[in-house]
């Protein structure tokens, strides 16, 4: 029996039983709708987490242990020699040393700030990064041009987000976009601290120029070119040879534990608090997605039971017709095939409707969120990310649920005694 004929016969039966079809398909659609909805929600939230904690699963930050014996003996250090050794650790693809600005610095801004008069002074926390790490995020050159020239800085994208969503609305300050800020210059006083209330003897005025926003930039402070920080540290007599940390990028995420172990054997420590937090939140989102997915699976399971009942009823009702099919030459297998083909159509219809329902619900929810929820940092324009495999899985599960549900009814239909079936009134 050819599939096209099978489905033609199945369709003719289904058209007659649109009501039953709607009930079975509807149940499947509900389950699949939930499944696809939750999967897309999980993926969407995972995306938000990645935005809030832009850490790569391939990267770890190496620091000097704070309480190490070696440290007391002056052994554990992060100088160029150690960085060179770190680069040779098996599994390491790249190493990017970072150095903190080891002298105090403040910025004072008095004047117009996008149409508003402001006066503020801030301690500047500076970190030096290798330009390679910032890469394309810098729209203007991220290079130290020596004494007297403005120092280019990149700022955390998260900082901009928090400014725009929390700080600016509270103070009535304008919201800022990347392009408004790039190129913006403001003064900095090196060697001076408001908090400590002191000024170093050779304190000096300089300028900072914002050249970009980057996930690589430090969250609290300004990220400068590494060479600029080294230059300033050296000039003020601070340590300019030992790095504060080294970002290690593994060849792949699986190698991270191995790399971390090698690093620890070198007497160094891994600062993975940020990475762990991201992984933990990611895992939590995954867990919740899984739980909701299982719930959706249960609903789909109920739909399968519902489909089973509907098909039992349908087979019972069509007993005589099944006898007729056998009389014109259908085998038991053919009869089962017809019932299963009907189930397949029911399941596919349910799957497609379910996917559409999920998309509809997601669109509604996004609209409610965008209109009803206050703006908060990292508020996404959509909480959902529908991926091809969500849809494929949804339709596959729908098909499977309907076929599993119809399995026993199909078998019952196949086992009908044709002579008895034909005498059924």
């Amino acid at each position: 029996m050819r599939a096209s004929k099978l489905f033609k016969l199945a369709r003719s039966n289904l058209v007659r039983e649109l009501g039953a079809l709607a009930v079975s398909s509807g149940g499947v659609a509900l389950g699949i709708g939930c499944l696809v909805f939750f999967l897309a929600l999980g993926a969407g939230l995972q995306g938000v987490v990645n935005e809030v904690f832009p850490v790569s699963t391939r990267e770890v930050e190496v620091v000097v242990p704070s309480m190490a014996i070696g440290n007391l003996l002056g052994e554990a250090r992060l100088d160029d020699a150690v960085v060179a050794r770190l680069r040779k650790v098996p599994g390491v693809a790249a190493a990017y040393p970072k150095m903190s600005l080891r002298i105090p610095a403040v910025t004072r801004y008095n004047g117009l700030f996008f149409g508003r008069e402001i006066h503020m002074g801030l301690e500047v926390v500076g970190v030096g990064l290798m330009p390679e790490l910032v890469g394309e995020d810098a729209r203007l050159p991220f290079q130290d041009r020596g004494d007297g020239a403005p120092i280019p800085i990149v700022v955390s994208r998260r900082l901009l987000e928090i400014y725009n969503k929390v700080f600016a609305p509270q103070r009535g300050l304008p919201r800022l976009t990347d392009s408004m800020l790039i190129g913006f210059q403001f003064p900095i006083e090196l060697g001076r601290s408001y908090i400590a209330g002191k000024t170093m003897p050779n304190a000096q005025e300089a300028a900072l120029q914002l050249v970009g926003f980057s996930d690589r930039a430090t969250l609290a402070g300004a990220s400068m070119p590494l060479t600029a920080v080294m230059r300033i540290n050296r000039r003020y007599g601070a340590d300019a040879d030992n790095y504060s940390s080294v970002l290690l990028r593994a060849q792949n995420a699986d190698q991270v534990p191995e790399v971390a172990a090698s690093v620890r054997r070198m007497g160094l420590e891994i600062d993975d608090s940020e990475r762990n937090r991201a992984l933990q939140i990611g895992a939590a989102v995954e867990l919740v997605t899984l739980a909701l997915g299982i719930l959706a699976g249960l609903i789909t399971g109920l739909a399968a039971v519902n489909t089973m009942q509907a098909f039992y009823a349908s087979v019972r009702e069509r007993t005589r017709e099944i006898g007729v099919l056998r009389a014109v030459g259908a085998t038991r297998g053919d009869v089962a095939g017809v019932v299963l083909a009907e189930a397949a159509v029911t399941g596919l219809a349910g799957g497609v409707v379910g996917v559409l329902l999920a998309r509809l619900a997601a669109a509604l929810l996004d609209r409610v969120a965008s209109n009803g929820l206050p703006d908060f940092p990292f508020k996404p324009s959509t909480f959902f990310r529908f991926q091809g495999w969500h849809v494929a899985l949804g339709i596959l599960v729908a098909l499977a649920a309907a076929l599993i549900g119809a399995f026993f009814p199909a078998r019952a239909a196949a086992r009908l005694d044709p002579a008895k079936a034909l005498t059924e009134s």
Binding site: M1, R2, K5, L6, K8, L9, S12, N13, V15, R16, R320, E321, G323, V324, L325, R326, A327, V328, G329, A330, T331, R332, D334, D417, P418, A419, L422, T423
Partner: protein, 237 residues
Amino acid sequence: MSEPAIRLAGVGKRYPPREPGVAPLDLLIELDLTVARGEFLAIEGQSGSGKSTLLHLLGGLDRDFIGEVRVLGCDLSALSDQELAALRHAQIGFVFQSFNLLPGLSALENVLLPDFFGEGVPDAERRAREALARVGLADKGQSPPAALSGGERQRVAIARALLARPPLLLADEPTGNLDAQTGEGVISLFRELHQEGMTLLIVTHEARVSHAADRVMVLREGRLAAEPGSKHPLESE
């Protein structure tokens, strides 16, 4: 000459008691019957005498019997379910009292029903139209069964039975649900098929059907007997 179309030898059918304490029902007892190829046999019998049961045995739809049933050279007891299905598909046409058309299919699709199964039917579409034309319903192919009269439905059912051009037609009270005039049309159709060489076995309790047959037998109390006065081609030699 080749084997007869149908040969029954010592065929019995017993239904187990429906409730405990009641005697089992011996519906068919020690039946012997030979139907020659090309013969038109009518079997009369009152309601409940076992006519439908006998047809189901002959069509391999009911395998629970004793004795030997040979149809078109095949010993039905020796065939598998699959082989029986293939036999029904290619060699046997069934016509029922209540037509048994599938309500979800058009008249033409109902005629095409055998083509859905087995190896299909060669040139099915053309044959189906021919079969519909043959029963006088060339223009009703697209009609659903619900839009047809009883006589038309039975003619669609006959066209369906003819699609695979089987040598044997088994009909179970084909005129039982038809009025006299439409019944007459169906009977003359059977007569034509007979003239073309088809073997027909029709069970009925209507004398007008029997009149068209070569031979008439009566099923009574589980046994088959030649109807008194009926000609018997095998015995007349």
